[in-house]
Symmetry: D2
Subunit: 111 residues, 4 copies
């Protein structure tokens, strides 16, 4: 993970792309890539979507879109000085408190 962050940073710096990589722009780029990911799933039934990785072409596209989303997310976190995994773990701990196992079991009340 740290390796990825550094690779993405080096990629941007070698191309002098830092001026474009502002938090606003990266957040927009992240949303754009998530939009492309949604497009892979939008017309599939839930069943088709669950089997998507078994289709070599569609599976490769989904994998590529997920890769793009991860690139921009790690770049945005890097630019903001946020540790991605740590931020996720902190939120997961909060969610564990907010959705205690016994009450949350099988309920979609929130997620």
């Amino acid at each position: 993970m740290d390796g990825l962050t550094e690779r993405v940073r080096a990629f941007a710096e070698e191309r002098d792309w830092q001026p474009f990589h502002t938090p606003k722009n990266l957040a927009m780029a992240l949303a754009g890539e998530v939009g492309e990911l949604l497009a892979e799933f939008q017309w599939l039934t839930p069943e088709e979507a669950s089997r998507v990785m078994a289709d070599p072409e569609a599976g490769a596209r989904v994998r590529a879109e997920i890769g793009d989303v991860m690139i921009y997310l790690s770049r945005l976190a890097d630019v903001l000085g946020i540790d991605l995994v740590e931020a996720a773990l902190t939120k997961l701990d909060e969610a564990a408190t907010r959705y205690p196992v016994e009450q949350a079991k099988g309920s979609a009340a929130k997620r």
Copy 2:
């Protein structure tokens, strides 16, 4: 990173949330969280957005939203059997070929 994937999976399984965690639903939830992240930046000038982490309250909100995005992204990748970091590195290699340093320098042609 593997630790996060496992923690998120355990979190979902303990609550019997697997039926909700289909690829379509997780992609929607990911997009929803990215929308909340965008909302943190939308009315800021580029300069204000670049200093957002210096503001304790706004900074905490941005960090929390980034954490949420990362949780759903790692969960979606896990459900699809995709290695998040590997998928990002593969795309980064492709991007390096598509945007050679010398031609891409300082140009926003694509990104």
Copy 3:
């Protein structure tokens, strides 16, 4: 529709919000509202989602989110000098050429 565009414009101008209503910011706000709309549907089964308007509370939330999306979309179009309905009709004509009825029938190839 023209009435809406004018009402939204007056709303923004009365509050001196024009400086915030740049195309970039409005596009982000639009995406943020679409994220909130997605959140209303993300954990529902396709069947539950199709019946969502029959639930007074969820239906009211969906209606409100759709309203928010429409407000930002019409404001963005206004700021860019684009006629929303005309832009949609132009694209619909193009789509009719690209997806002739006979070939497109029942196929999700594109949409």
Copy 4:
């Protein structure tokens, strides 16, 4: 506006696309199109974004993306039985109450 709704509905029905046009799928498609719209703005400075319609090629792309967003938004509203303009006006009235002119003037507190 009503004409657009009917034209989009006829377009979908002629192609037997109703089974694909569920609320969940249409919300995803809407988000996907908004992602493409964001992509048009993401690397532009605020000034470049404000002049985007003066560039024939970029302007045509933005207009087309806005048209796509409007198509899916009106289709989603139609499928849910929501009047798009009415839903927006209702929300605008609520916003007028929540952000009284005198307090909201020039402040980005919320929007």
